[in-house]
Symmetry: none
Subunit: 228 residues, 4 copies
Amino acid sequence: MPTPPSRTTAARPARKTGARERSAETTRDSLLRAAIRVFAKHGLDGGSVDKISRAAKSHDRMIYYYFGNKEGLFVAVLEEIYRRFNDAEAAIDLDITQPTEALRVVVQFVMQYYQKHPEFVTLLNSENLHRGKHIVKSDRAREYSSPAIGIIERVLRSGVEQGVFRRELVARDVYMMVAALGYFYQSNRYTLSAFLGEDLEAPQTFARWEAFVIDSVLRTVSIQPVSG
Amino acid sequence: MPTPPSRTTAARPARKTGARERSAETTRDSLLRAAIRVFAKHGLDGGSVDKISRAAKSHDRMIYYYFGNKEGLFVAVLEEIYRRFNDAEAAIDLDITQPTEALRVVVQFVMQYYQKHPEFVTLLNSENLHRGKHIVKSDRAREYSSPAIGIIERVLRSGVEQGVFRRELVARDVYMMVAALGYFYQSNRYTLSAFLGEDLEAPQTFARWEAFVIDSVLRTVSIQPVSG
Amino acid sequence: MPTPPSRTTAARPARKTGARERSAETTRDSLLRAAIRVFAKHGLDGGSVDKISRAAKSHDRMIYYYFGNKEGLFVAVLEEIYRRFNDAEAAIDLDITQPTEALRVVVQFVMQYYQKHPEFVTLLNSENLHRGKHIVKSDRAREYSSPAIGIIERVLRSGVEQGVFRRELVARDVYMMVAALGYFYQSNRYTLSAFLGEDLEAPQTFARWEAFVIDSVLRTVSIQPVSG
Amino acid sequence: MPTPPSRTTAARPARKTGARERSAETTRDSLLRAAIRVFAKHGLDGGSVDKISRAAKSHDRMIYYYFGNKEGLFVAVLEEIYRRFNDAEAAIDLDITQPTEALRVVVQFVMQYYQKHPEFVTLLNSENLHRGKHIVKSDRAREYSSPAIGIIERVLRSGVEQGVFRRELVARDVYMMVAALGYFYQSNRYTLSAFLGEDLEAPQTFARWEAFVIDSVLRTVSIQPVSG
DNA sequence: CATGAATGAGCTTTCATTCAT
DNA sequence: CATGAATGAAAGCTCATTCAT
């Protein structure tokens, strides 16, 4: 390997704006984007470097040039999808003074994020199949964790202060509840469809599930049972 | 194929008493068990026929003899794990006249089943990665679906009749809620551990989560908020 | 790998005489012979499995079938060339009662063996480049050592008894002297040719060297200086 | 190639005093030294340009800049190790009027040079594996040959004049004898260790061999058998 | 003098599968 | 029921080398 520019935990360089540098960025980025697509569709084992480089209209070698090896590419993929999730989360506009409504928004955001980004779900499944061996290599990815729960924590606290949410709740539990209910629907939709004999891809099916989840979460955190 | 005993959708034959047949059962079964282990650990793509036949102390060729090909083996694996889940579920002793308690038992059963059978979780993830292409080939596996929800349905109905559970509930939603909360914890425990900075494998962590889930489910289905 | 028939230290099976078995032996043997040729010519690193399987008119896969991997093949190669050397050595007809003449024959045999089997020299060089990591894996190869020195030992003892050879000699030293003088000429003939400005491949050059070596060995072991 | 300072057969330039030139010397030299180490350890085929440039803390491209290609680098390596050997040989202090003692010193020098410079041995083996194709490209390397034998020739002639050495000896044979006995011990020490069941790296084992070799050489060249 | 980017061919090895008996 | 032998394709990765600046 002719000195690959190690980029694992460093921020994007973007030093020069010269044409060559841009072209390089493009190659690396298109490889990364292709990797997300391919790994999401075929898993880590099923997603070959060849499929990826071909999808990126580049060459196998470039993957090794930019990411060291397949594992390094997968680490970069995880970092990227966590980063995207984080960015999206940071963008939601929350009125914390209305805790019930705010929680509803958060739940909706999470569920719809999984819905719109099925690759996030599949890629995390791949990582879990491999017992989290890649994520532990990335300091960057792990840094993305705190914000997610932080938001819920603030919402819950506001609710407690206003006397509408239960005092004894742990933000982490509520976070996991929301995540689980949104994730599972996406992650297991094929076996569930077969199992339940119902097409989970139909919009109204999802809509009903979303309503149920919001209701369920609110019932879990609220002191007074929700109306409806 | 030299007359493989097609077993894909047929019911299990009563074990014959002939010596050869018994030995055959043994080979087939050990291959199947090995396949469950290997596919669960490495996924469908990562689990090679070689790894499996070696783990079963048999030979590659025997897989083709008994299961046609790798796909056929995976279908058999799915059937087997669904069957096991079904058998276990059928064995739970439920006092339907005590709906709250009965529901608690069901939730506990589901969560602990995932806990004790991580291969179930991983294998379903593999199947979902492949968009459920194997499960649709198996009538047998799909038959196992109804009982699971049936149980919850009976419990809910009993609760409604006794005036403690909400009338408007759909059993399928409650089933999915329970499944999701148990499944997600297992399925994503590696990324969650990294994400939350907390070891989800610790018994007390699981116990707390279990309590939260039971509470949450009961709050979701009950008319009066649960005490505690 | 579909259960390669491990043959590393076991003797040739030759169980059946059926046509298929013979064909298999042929494939394995032709791969082994091709490997000797190719490794001798290009070294262990330069000799690719592709070159070998092509030279044997077989396929890469068969190397893995019969030898596990490239290393396993090289181990088998070492065993084979040691075996051949041993067999040839066992075939020399020695009149031990004439120690001087017998020693002359032994020296001549060794020198001419290297001359006629340049692959022996090159392959041992490859193994030494790799710090003997393959030879230590083979019990079989190491068994071939003793006979070689044994012969020289018997010759020396006979000479001592007859009062013509020095008593204080160690067979191992004499063995190494003979080996070194024959081996070096072969092993280093290209650099020596450039260095000395003389073609060591010319028959008469070799003949003169051979005479010198015999003379030198006899002067080393004899009590009375040799005439000549 | 962008004007590489062709150095293949040219003599070393007197080091210029310009700062940049000095830095260049350093890069070139560290590449060369790294190449010696890496080629010695892994052979010509096993020693990749990447390993070398990395070991020199430089870049692949610099190898092409200074040496044209991998072959050119290997030629430079050969030239360098021959030069070093020559320099060392030129430094030995010989009292030619004491031919027996002088010869003893020469033998000792050669044996210990191989001992202390195992890379010399390995690299010559690599070159011989490739049939001397690099050495013939270098006029410089071939020039180093004559001195080596010249020394032995002078010693032998002195011995003949003093009536202690045999008249019919050819310096080249004696030179090769000495070289062979020292070289073989180094070159083949791994296979020999396995073969003889004795660790040739142990200092006392080498010391005994050295004594044997000196004795053997003296017996070969002397008229009267040596005492001891 | 030096660099980042790129390339095509090759490497060892593993894949699922089939043949003939 | 089971076996040894064989196969073509593809896997991840490294090779020496060249491009443009």
